[in-house]
């Protein structure tokens, strides 16, 4: 697995933790432990996301690299085998 994919999969892992906790918190909104775990995973995800986007380009269009062309269109897209 190349370095880009490895970093992307770390982000995916933290984002999965976040989404699973989000569903749990929806039905347990006053669970302090889940909320604390959410906050920790969010910090990790955001930190890795910053590193990824600076190096490999945008994960969302809210990240705008300091370049003259629109990098969003660049391959790979997630359904491509090389992604």
């Amino acid at each position: 697995m190349d370095e880009r994919t490895n970093l992307l999969e770390q982000i995916m892992a933290y984002d999965f933790v976040l989404y699973d906790l989000q569903l749990f918190l929806d039905t347990h909104p006053s669970d302090g432990n889940a909320l604390r775990d959410y906050k920790m995973a969010l910090e990790q995800s955001e930190n890795l996301r910053r590193q990824y986007q600076a190096k490999y380009g945008p994960l969302t269009t809210r990240y705008l690299p300091n370049t003259t062309c629109w990098q969003w269109v660049n391959d790979p897209w997630p359904w491509n085998k090389e992604a």
Binding site: L8, E9, D15, F16, L23, T27, W72, P78, K81
Partner: protein, 190 residues
């Protein structure tokens, strides 16, 4: 509204094409117990949910199902990618090729196109949540059928992830049903 994230929810990286398995998995794209039906069911039902927790859970599970739809579409695409029409004919999956080529089309494995008749959305949250609990079990059963039809670890891994999510969603819908029943009991609202 929604924003796109340029990643799947869980990795899908299938190295070996398997057109027969692609067609089998296609039912989780546009079939009766598939991810498109799941997403539309929950995102439509959320408008009639009575409590803050149940509005949130229908909204958020409906959104996650869209990410599952993308994973299933990616699996079908990768399993079909670059397989020759001659090969498809040999494997007896050439009828799908005659209609759609190697495209990803929302139908079941028999080619029956997606229909909203697969879902229900009623004003009654108890009826909706009971449908949702059943839907998660039907999807879990489908993933178990699919898991019995392949020995490719690249295919098994994302299918097992998706099966596990059905179990988690079932749990959350059970909690949502309890919340609705408790709230309605308090309000003396039948």
């Amino acid at each position: 509204m929604w924003y796109y994230e340029k990643k799947t929810q869980y990795p899908v990286r299938i190295r070996k094409p398997d057109p027969r398995m692609a067609i089998n998995i296609l039912t989780q794209y546009g079939g009766p117990n598939g991810e498109l039906a799941a997403s539309l069911r929950y995102l439509s039902q959320r408008f009639s949910m009575p409590t803050k927790e149940t509005k949130a859970i229908l909204n958020d599970i409906g959104t996650e199902e869209l990410a599952h739809l993308e994973m299933i579409g990616s699996m079908v695409h990768q399993l079909m990618d670059k397989v020759s029409p001659q090969e498809l004919e040999k494997l007896h999956v050439d009828t799908m090729y005659a209609v759609h080529g190697r495209a990803v089309f929302p139908s079941d494995s028999n080619g029956v196109p997606f229909t909203a008749a697969y879902i229900e959305s009623m004003e009654d949250p108890i009826a909706n949540l009971n449908e949702d609990l059943a839907a998660e079990q039907k999807a879990r059963a489908t993933y178990e059928y699919l898991l019995k039809m392949t020995d490719d670890p690249d295919v098994i891994d994302p299918l097992r992830f998706l099966r596990e999510r059905e179990v988690v969603h079932y749990q959350r819908f059970g909690e949502a049903l309890r919340i609705v029943q408790e709230t309605m009991g308090k309000k003396k609202f039948y």
